[in-house]
């Protein structure tokens, strides 16, 4: 079983996101391990990009902070190497296509394989364009995670049939960021997915409260939280350990209770 599948085995997964290098590389390592200790089942590591068009203000700002401190793709690989010395938690990159293209697909995914990165999410690479990197990623055992949006409609099953790892179900229109309400008919979307694949579905975009987490976990196999975590890191800077532990613990608890 792949590490990603194990994150969803016999449980609903809590997936936490943070931006690598915010506030520092060594704290990114500590915060990943802190989230794991609090019960996170999978960690999404954001490789910062200058122009993250799918992100709301919170994660945009984290990207800028990380880049201004000199974070690079190689710097992110170093973070992964350190985490892997002590942890077997599933790790997935989230980044934009240009840094990966510029690094070179072959070199990038070979490095992922070597260090134990299990998957990648690229929001500006839709189904139609993934063929240029999919065979390379697959050769290196890196699962390319597909996204499904509220507007995907007839595309849902086309995407779901060929997905791997897990499916990232985008809860709402727009960009990432905390929302007070999620109005998309996610149950209907997930029914369509489940009709063609048994791959796990995780819902992301906008989720920040335990009530939302509980609701989403009823519908899906996992819950993805990004902006709320990045906000905690922004607020507490070098001293976010405890706040992160408490927040992730409470979210994980809410998911367990659904």
């Amino acid at each position: 079983m792949s590490r990603i599948s194990s994150a969803f085995e016999h449980k609903k997964a809590f997936i936490g996101f943070l931006t690598a290098g915010d506030p520092t590389p060594s704290l990114t390592i500590e915060y990943i391990l802190e989230m794991e200790r609090a019960g996170a089942d999978l960690i999404e590591i954001g490789i910062p990009f200058s122009d993250p068009t799918a992100e709301g203000v919170v994660i945009q700002d984290a990207n800028i902070r990380a880049l201004s401190k000199g974070m690079t793709p190689d710097g992110v690989f170093d973070i992964v190497a350190s985490v892997r010395q002590v942890s077997n938690i599933p790790l997935v990159f989230l980044t934009y296509i240009n840094p990966v293209f510029h690094y070179g697909y072959e070199k990038f995914f070979a490095r992922c394989e070597e260090l134990g990165v299990d998957g990648i999410i690229i929001p500006d690479m839709p189904y139609e364009e993934r063929s240029e990197l999919l065979p390379i990623a697959t050769t290196h055992g890196v699962e390319v995670i597909s996204l499904i949006a509220p507007t995907s409609r007839q595309r849902i099953q086309m995407i779901a049939k060929e997905s791997s790892g897990f499916l990232y179900v985008v809860s709402s229109m727009g960009v990432t960021g905390v929302r007070s309400e999620i109005n998309t008919d996610l149950a209907a979307m997930i029914d369509l997915i489940k009709a063609v694949t048994d791959i796990p579905c995780a819902i992301g975009f906008g989720i920040n409260t335990t009530i939302q987490a509980k609701q989403m976990a009823k519908l899906a196999d996992g819950v993805i939280v990004g902006s709320a975590i990045v906000k905690i890191i922004e607020k507490y800077g070098n001293h976010a350990h405890q706040a992160l532990f408490e927040y992730v613990s409470s979210m994980k608890q809410a998911i367990r209770e659904q």
Binding site: F49, S50, D51, T53, A54, G56, V57, Q60, I64, L67, T72, P73, I97, N98, P99, V100, F101, H102, Y103, P123, D124, M125, P126, Y127, E128, E129, S146, L147, I148, A149, P150, T151, S152, R153, Q154, R155, I159, V170, M173, G174, V175
Partner: protein
């Protein structure tokens, strides 16, 4: 060639949330492109409202002064709203209305595309919101007020470098937020397919007219056509119907800012590398880690780190050449054209005028060249005065 590709360039690198919409847009465009009623309506708007066809003006004084090729100016500056941007905007906004959209959004750099979009939205009765880098709202304050007069809401963009690239980011974010009733009127031959094709088609009227006009006036094709290039819409429009004419040189003039050997330029072809950004594979100014580089030009309309994918392919296939022109050279040409021909052109267009000054004198007198005068320079007068250290009360 693969659909939506120009050689290896182009493609549709955008969020899944927008995929159905751009597929729908492509279908709608294919339908209206061949729809006689739509084409007639657009032609009427272009002729009766925007003032087409635009003049092909023989620049006698400039020709005499430079002493070589006969120089013609394709006067897109005389269009309604003062630039070539109206050609594309009327097409897109009319199409959006027919698609049932009630709202249009657009990015703008210099403000010309924003003004054109606000104009078309006012005329055709659609809501309009414009995203403009905060830096540019200061450089082009008059255009902000112009858009507001036309009933548009202008959002100053404070992320990133606060210029055109960031305005595009923010407009894309807004489109993912609200796509069902909203069309994104992309202003250049860039972004995901089908935009580079749609914008090129609507702008290709420039070369369609210019080719007929030059054949009528000179009885032969030009030796070269020149246009400034940011994203590249006026250049693509100026080049398009000359691409098959192999003896016509196609020359794009990029913004070299303070010089291509400084950090302050926007010369994508001279200094950029292949990358994937804003929905397309093309050339981009970027750093060694694939981060999009901050760019600079005196001209807000050329201050963009990428170039349209069809240009990238024209460059790679050596059909077109792209040359850098600095701020100083562009300002010189701006003043030169004003004094020589009595035409105050946009600082963007002045980049093309500048390069024409370099080559025209070395050409034979029986040759002719066409410069696309993409816009008028009223919007730039205050900025040029500041650049020259002249104090004026606006």
């Amino acid at each position: 060639m693969e659909k939506g590709r120009y050689g290896v360039f182009g493609g549709q690198y955008i969020a899944e949330t927008l995929m159905n919409e751009i597929i729908r847009l492509e279908d709608a465009y294919e339908c209206y492109k061949n729809d006689k009623e739509f084409q007639k309506e657009l032609e009427d708007l272009l002729n009766q409202y925007a003032g087409r066809p635009s003049l092909l003006y023989y620049a006698k004084n400039m020709t005499k002064d430079l002493g070589g090729a006969r120089i013609y100016l394709k006067r897109e500056d005389l269009n309604h709203t003062g630039s070539h941007k109206i050609n594309n905007v009327l097409g897109q906004v009319l199409m959006a209305k027919k698609m049932g959209k009630t709202r249009v959004i657009a990015e703008t750099g210099a403000g010309q595309h924003g003004v054109a979009t606000a104009t078309a939205a006012a005329l055709l009765g659609l809501e309009c919101e414009i995203f403009m880098g905060k830096e540019d709202t200061i450089r082009q304050a008059l255009n902000v007020y112009r858009m507001e007069l036309l009933g548009a809401k202008v959002h100053p963009v404070t992320s990133g470098t606060m210029t055109l690239k960031d305005a595009v980011n923010e407009t894309m974010r807004e489109w993912t937020n609200r796509v069902s009733d909203t069309h994104y009127v992309l202003g250049s031959v860039m972004g995901p397919h089908p935009f580079p094709m749609i914008v090129r088609d609507f702008q290709s009227i420039i070369s369609l007219e210019a080719r007929e006009q030059i054949l009528e006036y000179e009885g032969k094709l030009p030796s070269a056509v020149l246009a400034c290039v940011g994203g590249g819409s006026n250049a693509m429009g100026m080049f398009y119907h000359f691409i098959e004419d192999e003896n016509v040189k196609l020359i794009g003039c990029e913004a070299a800012g303070k010089g291509v050997d400084t950090a302050l330029h926007a010369a994508t072809i001279a200094k950029g590398e292949v990358g994937i950004f804003h929905g397309m594979k093309s050339y981009f100014c970027q750093d060694e880690n694939g981060q999009i580089a901050p760019v600079y030009s005196i001209s807000a309309g050329l201050d963009y780190p990428g170039i349209g994918p069809e240009h990238a392919n024209l460059y790679d296939s050596e059909r077109a050449t792209y040359v850098p022109v600095t701020d100083d050279e562009a300002v010189d040409a701006f003043e030169y054209l004003a004094k020589t021909e009595g035409i105050i052109c946009a600082i963007e267009s002045a980049h093309a005028v500048s390069y024409a000054r370099k080559i025209a004198g070395k050409m034979r007198k029986d040759e002719n060249i066409i410069i696309c005068l993409s816009g008028r320079g009223d919007k730039d007068v205050a900025a040029i005065a500041r650049y020259k250290g002249v104090k004026i009360d606006e």
